[in-house]
Structure formats: C-alpha cells, structure tokens
C-alpha cells in the first residue's frame, strides 16, 4: 500500500516537473515571437515594413509606361519630437520602374540640437516590398542644429512586379527622437 502511495507521489512529481518545463518553454516561445514576427513581416512583405537599406539600381529596369501609380506622401512628427516635418509635394504620378525623387522639409524650431530617426511605412502593406528606396534620409539618424531648415531627399523605384490592382501607394514617415542607445532603426 505505502509502495503504491510512494509510486504515485513520484509519478505526480515527474508529471508536474514536465508541465513546469512546458510552461518555461512557452515563456521562450513568447520571446521567440519577436524575431519570428520580424522575419515573417519581412519575408511576406506585410505590415507595411519596407526594406531598410538602399536597393540596388537594376541596370536594365523596364519602365512600364502602360500604367501609372499615384504616390502620396505623409510626414508626422511624433509626440516626443519637436520638429516641423512635412512633405514638399503631397502626391505624384510615377510609372512602375521609373526612378522618382521626392523630398521632405524639416525645421528644428528649438534652440537645442535634435537627433531623430524617421520610420517609414507603406500602405497598402502588399506594396511595401515593391517600394524600393535608393536614397532615403530614413536609412540613418539625422542631426539638426538649432533653427536649422533642411530638405531631406528620397529616391525610389516602384517595382513593375507590383500587382496592377494597386493604383495608389502611400509613403508615410513618423519622425521620432532617436533613442539614446539604439543604432539605426
């Protein structure tokens, strides 16, 4: 009888420890979701995340003259950023494959040096990976002297692979104060 009790006690402890281990694994899974999410968004090109590096300019890009896409520009200074930040032109028409230039105007109205980072986002999400930036001020942090006014350039190509169902694309930047300790976003 007491043998049975002892066996049961041991079996209980073993199962409980296994389940506790499972809970620990689940904590690990929770943290693993961070890189999994990042990779999924990048690979599938969802969530409006654009490639944060200069795209190679293809030598023989075919410009698709048969259709044109409306590109709209937005700029938002975030609440922790005192900048005045807006697009110089709010919209333009481009053909897929055509090299296009746009710019944003920034003024630092404060009397302090401001270091900021612009985070781009493209809507609709499926257009994000076809929106290839060749030059962008969002690739690195920007430093503004007190009272400085500057124009920030963006050069981009919309890949001809973009589905012809998409007729308009919005490029939006949120300007943040750069975190003290981070490298470029």
């Amino acid at each position: 009888m007491s043998d049975r009790v002892e066996n049961l006690r041991r079996a209980n402890r073993r199962l409980a420890l296994r389940l506790g281990f499972l809970a620990l694994l689940a904590v690990g899974f929770g943290f693993a979701l961070v890189p999994i999410y990042d990779v999924l968004c990048r690979v599938a090109g969802i969530n409006g995340k654009t490639v944060q590096a200069a795209a190679e300019v293809a030598d023989n890009t075919q410009v698709d003259d048969s259709r044109s896409i409306t590109v709209q520009f937005m700029g938002t200074p975030m609440s922790n950023s005192p900048l005045e930040f807006e697009p110089v032109q709010t919209r333009m028409e481009v053909h897929p494959g055509q090299l296009a230039h746009a710019s944003y105007r920034v003024r630092n109205p404060t009397d302090r040096v401001f270091v900021g980072q612009a985070i781009p986002s493209v809507t609709p999400g499926e257009a994000a990976r076809h929106f290839q930036k060749i030059v962008c001020f969002c690739f690195e942090r920007q430093e503004f002297q007190p009272g400085e006014v500057r124009e920030l350039p963006v050069t981009f190509v919309i890949s001809p692979d973009l589905s012809d169902k998409v007729v308009a694309v919005t490029l939006s930047y949120a300007f943040f104060q750069a975190p003290d300790d981070s490298t470029k976003g």
Binding site: L22, A26, N47
Partner: protein
C-alpha cells in the same frame, strides 16, 4: 466541514490549526476551493463596483462625476479584475472543490502547490488596485489606464500604475499555471480505478482542456508584459518603432493569449453545464463522446484564430481571410456542444430549480454572444463595429453567461453538497430573474447604440444615445443588486436550511453524490472502483 468525521479517518489524525493559520497553511482541496470562491466573489464586488461607477457616469451625456483619466482607470481595472480576479479563480475554486470528489481521489495531486497557487492571488490583487486607491488619496498617477488589453505604445508611456499591473499579471499568471499543473496531474494520475479517460465526468474534461491552454498561453503573456516593462525602464525597443520595434507585435502577443483565454473561461463551464442539465432533465447526457471531441477541437483551434481581434490593425487581405474563416470554423465544434446540450434537455422530465434556470439562461445568452461573434468575425463587417458598443455588448454576452451564469448554475447545483443544507429556492429564483433582467437591460441597448455608431472607451456620448444609455445604466444597477441577493442566499444556506441528502438532487449522477452532505473534510481515502 465538521472535524468529527476527520478524526474517524486513520492517518489523517493530525492537529488541525485553528483561526487564520488554518486557512494560511491548509492543503485541503475543499478549504482551498472555498477560499478561491470567496476570493472570486469579493473581487466580483470590487470589479462590479468599478463598472457601476462607469455606468453612473454614462447615465447622462456629458461629464458629471469623473474626469476621463479616472474613467480610463475604472474600465481598465474592471476588465483585468473580472478576467483574472473573478472568472479564473471562480473556475479554479469549482475545480478544487469538485474534481477530487468527481474523480474519486482523496485530494488534489499536489496539495502544497495548491496552497501556494491560491495565496499568490490576494497579494496580486492588492498590487493591481493599490495605485488606484493611492491615486484617490492624491498620491501618484493612479492605476493602470491603458485598457485591459494594455496596447503599446500607450502602455509603454503611461504612469506607474502600469508597472503595478505588470507585476500583478506575472503573479496572477503564475497562480493560474500552478493551478493548471495541479489539475492535469490530478486528472492523469489520481482517477479512481476503472475510471478511464472516456468515463471521466465532462467537468474534468473541460477543465483539462483549460489547464492545457493555460500552460501554453499564460507564459506568453508573462513574456509580453515583461517586454513592456523593459521597454518602459530598461531601454529596450520591442514595441518602439523609433528603436526598430513594432507596436502591432504587442497586439499579436496579447491576443495569442487573449483569444484562447476566452475558451479558458468557457471550457470548465461547458463541462459543468451537462451535469446540471442531466440532473434536472432526468436522463443521461447526450453525446458524451461528441462533447469530448468538440472540446478538443475548440482547444486546438483556439490558438490559431487570435488575429480576428486585430482586423483593424492593417493586416493584408490574405491574413484577414485566413483569420475570418478559421474563426468561423471554430463555431462548428461549439455548435456541437450546443446541440448536445439541447438534445440532453429534449424530451426530458424537466424541472426548473435554480441551477437549471441558470444553465438554460447560460445556453440562450451565450448563444447570442456566439451569433453576434459571427458578425464580428466577418472581416468586411468588423471595421464598422470594432470600436463601437456593439463589440462591448457582444463580448459581455460571451463572457457574462459563461463566467457568472454558468458558475452560478454550478454553485447552486453543488451548494447542498458543500454546506449540507438546501438553499432557499425562492430567493435563488429571485436572484436568477434579477440577473437575467438586469443583464439584458444593460446590454441589449448597447447593441442598438453600437449599431448606431456610439464609440466605446469614451466617457461621454452624443445626445441621440441618451435614452438607451440611461436604460443600460438602470439595468447595470439591477444586475449589481442581484449579486447581493446571491450573497444573502449563500450566507443563509451556510447557516441553516433543510437538510441535504447525500444525493441532493433526484436526477444527479456522479461520485460526488455518493459521499455525505456536507462533504467531510477528507473523502475517498480509499478510492472507489468504477465499473
């Protein structure tokens, strides 16, 4: 719980601590179950009192009795308290009381863990509400006010009530995980000889599913709130776009926990209801196997549908379609459970004692919650209703019938077993009708104002919604009052009443009805054999 019977059992003849020490150190499943239920009921009054303040503010348009910052604290605490402080402890209390008796086990498998699991709760609840009362006294910024979903970036930026909430969620999560481990070990190892898994009571099946889900999802939430904590204080950027993070990631982490959580709350009740239906229909439960497989299907599907809470977060169309169809798919096994419940009642010799009324009320109102859920699961319709009161009404129809009506059905059903007395049937029925009338009066108007476009989470509203909101507030106070009736019924039942038989209900079936009422402190020291 007389000690006379305790001493009759050889081997349990140890000194019984008295007073506070008895409750602090107890490892007895019945005493711990009682503590869980009392804790849940006390929290129901705190979380309910908070939302009654909210309904008082919404009684008329305009700001009368509070500022929006205070309103935000109230709705946030209401959500967190009701889910983690009321619904889960109440279900765990039922499991503690009933599982060993229904399985023919002498106690839970890990009694000491059981004690820890409970005693983590009161400090956690204190931690959660302390900044609220400090705020009232003018100290600090008040309680967590980012909504119970704690969406980033708001939760990263808000006051230090959030830090209290983060640690409270850690502790509440740990408590649920300990309880879940205990339940699984008890069910797997402690069943009476002869009770195979497919002879196990449905309540045990329901809670087994819940326990499995809890072990998988609560750690993910704990990890998520830890990320918010490090974002707030230790310079990480999990949810900070400026540092390369993404606030939408929080929504995925939260709802990966948050959606299965709905089924965590439902499944123990979906397991308990068939016992009540069968007793008062006087015929065996219909489709036992179908119900078990249905619960399995719900459990598996529940972890792959979470993003239907996020249709308005800017998902690609293909993802919306996937989450829409998988969400609609989950209504199929739920429908199986519904049909089994209805078929159990079908052509039975029905009688309508209070537990039966609550069980039927649960089925009907939860059905409405499910049907309105199908409307919201439609990715094309959801954006219109998502931030409107329609959604508030929907999830209250899903959660109130399960976590309150369902729990009440179970409590009234087993109350004679716990106290040894029959409760006052008249007052029980009064409680039921007050609750049903109050609940529907509160939430039916919210469907209407939601369809008309009244946004949720805002302490003020347009004049056109005034009448419905007034009605809704009156309903809420009736609903609140119904729980005072319940409190009185329980106290009266504990103090006296007609003597309950071992088998308190004519149609009741199961091992728990083979032990005397009130159930002695120790039952099934020698396990019964199930044929």
């Amino acid at each position: 719980m007389s000690t006379a019977e305790t001493h009759a059992h050889e081997g349990h003849h140890h000194d019984q601590p008295t007073g506070l020490a008895r409750w602090l150190f107890t490892t007895n499943h019945k005493e711990i179950g009682t503590m869980y239920l009392i804790f849940a009921f006390a929290m129901l009054f705190i979380g309910g009192g908070m939302i009654l303040l909210v309904r008082a503010e919404l009684f008329q348009p305009g700001l009368q009795i509070m500022q929006p910052e205070f309103y935000n604290q109230l709705i946030t605490l209401h959500g967190l308290i009701m889910v983690f402080g009321v619904a889960m402890p109440a279900a765990t209390g039922l499991a503690n009381w009933m599982l060993p008796m229904m399985l023919g086990a002498p106690d839970m498998a890990l009694p000491r863990l059981n004690n820890w699991g409970f005693w983590i709760l009161p400090p956690a609840a204190t931690l959660l509400v302390t900044p609220f009362f400090l705020g009232l006294a003018g100290i600090g910024t008040g309680a967590v006010d980012a909504g119970w979903t704690m969406y980033a970036p708001l939760s990263v930026q808000t006051g230090w009530g959030m830090d209290f909430a983060i640690f409270a969620v850690h502790m509440l999560g740990m408590s649920s995980i300990l309880a879940a481990i205990n339940v699984i070990v008890t069910i797997v190892n402690m069943r009476a000889p002869g009770m195979t898994m497919m002879k196990m009571p449905l309540f045990a099946w329901g809670f087994l599913m819940t326990a499995i889900l809890l072990i998988l999802i609560m750690p993910v939430l704990a990890g998520g709130v830890t990320m918010i904590l490090t974002d707030r204080h230790f310079g990480t950027h999990f949810f900070d776009a400026a540092g390369g993070g993404d606030p939408v990631l929080w929504q995925h982490i939260f709802w990966f926990m948050g959606h299965p959580e709905v089924y965590v709350l439902l499944l123990p009740i979906a397991g308990a209801i068939p016992h009540v239906l069968q007793a008062f229909s006087r015929k065996p439960t219909y489709g036992y196997k179908a119900q078990v497989y249905g619960m399995w299907a719900i459990t598996v599907l529940s972890v792959v549908v979470w993003a239907h809470h996020m249709f308005t977060s800017g998902m690609p169309t293909t993802a919306q379609l996937y989450f829409m169809y998988s969400t609609m798919l989950i209504s199929l096994p739920l429908a199986v459970l519904f049909f089994c419940w209805i078929a159990t009642v079908w052509k039975g010799s029905l009688s309508f004692e209070t537990p039966m009324l609550f069980a039927l009320g649960f089925i009907i109102l939860f059905g409405w919650g499910g049907l309105t859920g199908l409307v919201l699961a439609d990715a094309a319709a959801d954006p219109q209703y998502h931030n409107a009161y329609f959604l508030v009404a929907h999830f209250h129809y899903a959660l109130y019938p399960t976590t309150i009506l369902g729990v009440m059905a179970a409590v009234y059903y087993w109350l004679p077993k716990w106290t040894g007395h029959m409760y006052d049937e008249k007052l029980g029925k009064l409680h039921f009708w007050l609750a049903i009338i109050g609940f529907n009066m509160t939430f039916i108007p919210q469907f209407f104002v939601g369809l008309a476009g009244m946004p949720r989470r805002i302490p003020d509203y347009a004049l056109q919604f005034a009448e419905w909101n007034m009605l809704s507030s009156i309903g809420a106070f009736i609903l609140g009052a119904s729980h005072l009736v319940f409190l009185y019924v329980v106290i009266k039942c504990v103090r006296g009443g007609a003597k309950a038989e071992a088998k308190s209900w004519e149609g009741a079936d199961g091992l728990e009805w083979t032990v005397p009422s009130p159930a002695p402190l120790h039952t099934f020291d020698t396990q019964p054999v199930v044929k």
